[in-house]
Symmetry: C2
DNA sequence: AAGGGATGGTACCGATCGGTAACATCGGTA
DNA sequence: TACCGATGTTACCGATCGGTACCATCCCTT
């Protein structure tokens, strides 16, 4: 049973329940009636707050990317003028988030796969977010003065997205640990690509604050 | 219009058309009737060859992974006793395949996202394939005597899967080129400590056949 | 020519789903 | 108390979809 406390207004409850159900069963796997019922309300109230299911999906996506943007803002405020630490911290948070998506993987990637229509309102939200995130990483790689920022930014992005999509076929614990090892090594080599095998049990966090 | 030459038996035509439609519109986005019609036949004949839509999906997936397995066999035969070249070749073929999936991304990843039910017949096909592919890469990393084969194997896998899922938000040309640069650098460093970024426009192929 | 298996055509069923209409109810405010 | 906006309830519509029954063909073999 997926209900929410009726103290919150219906709109919030619907969004919270939709988040849960969409993640677990996929967008097309759950109907509006099920969402309304699980939110302790009914279809009519749902349609008074969202003009269609597609708009609900888009709003759900806006919430997810807004949350991620808040995390970005937070970690950039926590590590001012330290692009390297910001990259590492973002990677660490991404790795930590793996624990919540072992079953179904990334909600954003899944939504993208479930929305083949290029003009779906949620698609714009997702596409813009991904471009923005990639741009963020690129700027950080430039600021961190990696030798080839474009290449290193893609490397970051590939590693992060790849790790996300591998959580389901490799154990999530190992994925998180290996991802952080790879990121640490990348950062340590200042983006001089490569990789490598840091000694086993190497330190996970390395703020490396530089003036 | 998505029709196939009626010279082939219906089963082949149905599978070919299903491959096209599933890729373009997603599994749940296309009905069996549309498939049958596009294949120049009808629903009845479809159900005489596939006991259900889910079984058709599973059979479609079996075809895809079988194709990938054939590619593996081929490139391993072409580079005998050279695990490094096999890894590079597999990466190159993956990068080349990006051109065909710019619109919708990887069919396997999409199918996974569209099949939330863990007991779906196609899920077993996909999961086994991913484990097998990861294992293949791991064995090659061991044979290539990388310093930390498990880590390097995950790095390969992350990079490849991540690049796949990024084809849609970054230009496919750059994704392919950067992926190959990263793989070349990884291989050149033998999985050991960081190296310098390869010069721009560095050689794409580097068989590096070693005795 | 006769037979039979594979295929095509059509119509249909039951279930689900997105979305709407019409009305009842409740809570706060003037 | 009278009112009004937000919410709950029920029933319904039209469309789509997976799946099936029934029968007409067609083609190959004997």
């Amino acid at each position: 049973m997926t209900t929410t406390q009726p103290t919150q207004p219906p709109r919030q409850r619907i969004l919270a329940v939709a988040d849960d159900l969409f993640r677990r069963h996929g967008i097309r796997g759950v109907g509006v009636e099920a969402i309304a019922e699980a939110a302790g309300t009914n279809k009519m109230t749902l349609y008074r707050h969202f003009e269609s299911k597609d708009e609900l999906i888009a709003e759900w996506m806006r919430g997810i990317v807004a949350q991620k943007d808040r995390v970005w803002d937070e970690l950039m405020a926590q590590n001012p003028n330290n692009p390297t630490a910001q990259l590492v911290e973002w990677s660490r948070r991404t790795a930590d988030a793996f624990a919540q998506m072992e079953e179904r993987g990334s909600a954003i990637l899944n939504a993208l796969a479930e929305l083949p229509e290029a003009d779906h309102p949620a698609r714009k939200v997702i596409d813009e977010h991904r471009v923005r995130e990639h741009e963020r990483i690129l700027v950080l790689c430039r600021d961190a003065e990696f030798s080839d920022p474009e290449l290193t930014a893609d490397q970051f992005y590939f590693l992060l997205e790849g790790a996300k999509s591998c959580v389901r076929c490799i154990g999530l614990k190992r994925v998180g640990e290996h991802l952080m090892q790879l990121v640490d090594t990348m950062v340590a080599s200042r983006g001089n690509a490569g990789t490598s095998a840091p000694p086993r049990g190497s330190p996970r966090k390395r703020p490396s604050r530089r003036p």
